[in-house]
């Protein structure tokens, strides 16, 4: 998706926790900076010069103190100021910038798929792996045009009261209205949707791509009347809380929050969860040049990724982080070995090629 719906949502979660006093300001700022969401929301200041790094992200959350907490550590290390712009690095926006020759961002937080889309359009620089330490992340997280900063999963969440304590065992149960009566929810953005439908229909994980769209639609068609389509993470929590749905394909971060609220009622399963990687990209002709890769490299540090996991549940892209986490954190982390046992990984190459067409087909299908 050319908008990182997930990153926006993660920032919102952090802001809510911060507002409730569940996390302190320092941790909040640290967490957002790990997300690439440290929003020193200063549109006027976003015109970068070579002595600073401008990071673009999705959140306009905590404004003033942000630049300090995020900028200072990096400034200490590198001598460079960091300015963060929360305007949202949509592919369309990056394209407009690069084509008009007025690039103001050095690093953008957009997801592995975006990095490929941007790379294909010749709109981003190649990641300089002489500066960014490739060995910090698994091979498939270090792409030519993007390197992963965190990961997240689509999981099957359910209302255990409504199912009378019976746990679903996989996506097939999403379609079993006899065993689990009630409405469902899934996302109206295509990533991670047809995969679960196909797995429920018996397609083996290895055979998912290229996605058999017709088969997925055929499986989904009889269910459409019972599905409410969500477009943002907060909405998924609301749908479960209000008893509107009994089961759904939602982000693991939101499933975790629901579970924290009402542990006996809302649960989720890791079976067949669908993992996505978020990633940094560097727009072509970025003002700070090569220096931005030093910043990107610093975000791969396990210490920072651990804080991100503890605060929001975003999974670390650096596997070394796993050695640092507590058993409680391990339970909510999508990259923990047990949780990843039957996990499938969203295929960024496939999406970079087909997402536009798929998204429009899907919208047409669910609205007709």
């Amino acid at each position: 998706m050319t908008i990182s719906h997930f990153a926006q949502d993660a920032a919102q979660i952090a802001l809510e926790k911060f507002n409730r006093g569940e996390i302190d300001r320092r941790s909040f700022l640290f967490a957002l900076s790990g997300l690439g969401l440290a929003a020193a929301f200063k549109p006027g200041a976003a015109l970068a010069d070579a002595s600073e790094i401008v990071v673009c992200n999705w959140g306009g959350a905590a404004v003033d103190a942000f630049a300090k907490a995020y900028g200072d550590p990096f400034t200490k290390k590198s001598g460079m100021k960091v300015v963060i712009d929360g305007a949202g690095p949509a592919v369309g926006t990056i394209r407009a910038m690069v084509e008009s020759g007025k690039v103001i961002w050095d690093a953008t937080d957009g997801g592995m798929i975006d990095s490929l889309t941007l790379g294909k359009g010749n709109l981003v620089e190649k990641i300089d792996y002489t500066i960014v330490d490739k060995s910090q992340v698994p091979e498939n997280f270090a792409g030519e045009f993007g390197v992963s900063n965190y990961v997240y999963s689509n999981v099957l969440a359910y209302d255990a009261e409504a199912t009378k304590g019976v746990a679903p065992t996989g996506w097939a149960d999403f379609f079993d209205t006899a065993k689990f009566p009630g409405k469902r929810t899934m996302c109206k953005w295509i990533q991670g949707q047809l995969e679960f439908v196909l797995m429920a229909d018996g397609v083996a994980p290895a055979d998912l791509y290229p996605l058999d769209v017709d088969r997925a639609f055929k499986k989904l068609k009889p269910m459409l009347a019972d599905i409410i389509f969500w477009e943002g993470g907060a909405q998924t929590q609301q749908l479960f809380r209000e008893g509107e749905v009994v089961m759904g394909n939602i982000w693991h971060t939101r499933a975790n929050l629901l579970n924290k609220e009402t542990p006996d009622k809302f649960k989720w399963i890791w079976e067949q969860n669908i993992l996505s990687a978020s990633a940094w990209s560097v727009p072509k002709g970025n003002p700070a040049g090569k220096k931005v890769f030093e910043f990107i490299n610093s975000t791969l540090d396990p210490a920072g990724q651990l804080v991100l996991l503890q605060l929001m549940g975003n999974g670390p892209s650096n596997p070394k982080t796993l050695a640092l986490i507590t058993p409680a954190d391990a339970l909510v982390n999508p990259t923990t070995k047990e949780n990843a046992a039957s996990q499938i990984m969203l295929n960024p190459t496939y999406y970079a090629e087909h997402e536009t067409e798929l998204q429009n087909k899907y919208l047409d299908f669910i609205s007709s």
Partner: protein, 280 residues
């Protein structure tokens, strides 16, 4: 006097420049993009007409807009008609209540409707407790919910337009009709209704054109299943990067609305609505 006119005209220049710079220029840019993205020509418009999905989005938009317009004008006429027959005090209170929704954001209104209409919402709970229904009705996250939300949004506009028109009608005509032996129903159908046609025409046009461009209400109350033009355009701009599709569809929408307004303004009823009435 001539001097005054020149000065008055000059005073409009800054506002016009702002309007052109911030409104007309971007629209022209959209138009230009629709003809040049990805290459020069009318190909985008050709593929727009060949695109079955766009056809379905347009049909949904028309269906929802027509339903909204009919229900809004009907309900608003009843309200406006009642208001003009009230005493001055009640009329003030009623008009105030009509205006209240204007101060509430469209987002808040959409969420409020969700609270009322959802399966365990206010309305369903009340109906179930009263024993009217045994299973909750699907009132929201579908076409019905979208229509309810949109009618609610549009009613204050229509009520005010109709109220202005109805209160302008000379009441002595009704007295004359009554003195000639007409029953109340006859007076309504043969006097009130024909005289209020300009108001009805104006309200219909306004509500219909406004409905065509609805974004937030269908997105929230439709839950993905009621896809209207504005949301479709927004998805093509920000999510799928199909600027060709988005800009050509925007231009078409603008063009169609322009044609509708132009054609409607030529109808006698609407022209009458814009003619200043001599003060009684």
């Amino acid at each position: 006097m001539r001097n005054f006119k020149t000065t008055a005209l000059l005073l409009t220049v800054p506002a016009s420049l702002v309007a052109i710079g911030l409104y007309a220029a971007p629209i022209l840019q959209v138009l230009a993009l629709s003809l040049t993205e990805p290459k020069l020509g009318f190909a985008n418009y050709q593929s727009l007409f060949a695109n079955a999905a766009v056809g379905r989005v347009v049909m949904t938009t028309l269906k929802v807009s027509v339903m909204t317009t009919v229900l809004t004008v009907l309900a608003s006429y009843i309200v406006a008609f009642a208001i003009i027959h009230m005493s001055a005090g009640w009329r003030r209170i009623s008009l105030f209540l009509v205006l209240v929704p204007f101060w509430i954001s469209v987002l808040v209104r959409a969420f409020s409707w969700i609270t009322i209409l959802r399966r365990r919402g206010v309305l369903n709970s009340a109906l179930m407790e009263a024993g009217v229904i045994s299973t909750p009705l699907d009132l929201v996250y579908n076409l019905l919910g979208v229509t309810i939300g949109m009618v609610h949004y549009m009613m204050p506009f229509a009520i005010l337009l109709l109220y202005a028109n109805l209160s302008d009608i000379d009441r002595r005509i009704m007295q004359a009709a009554r003195s000639l032996g007409a029953r109340p129903a006859t007076i309504f159908w043969r006097v009130w209704l024909p005289l209020s046609l300009p108001g009805i025409a104006l309200a219909t046009l306004f509500v219909f054109v406004f409905s065509l461009g609805f974004l937030v209400t269908p997105a929230l109350l439709g839950a993905g299943k009621t896809l209207m033009i504005a949301e479709y355009i927004s998805v093509q701009i920000s999510s799928t990067s199909r600027w060709d599709l988005a800009t050509s569809l925007s231009t078409m929408l603008l063009l169609v609305v322009g044609i509708i307004v132009f054609a409607a303004m030529r109808s006698p009823a609407l022209r009458a609505a814009f003619v200043a009435r001599p003060q009684q």
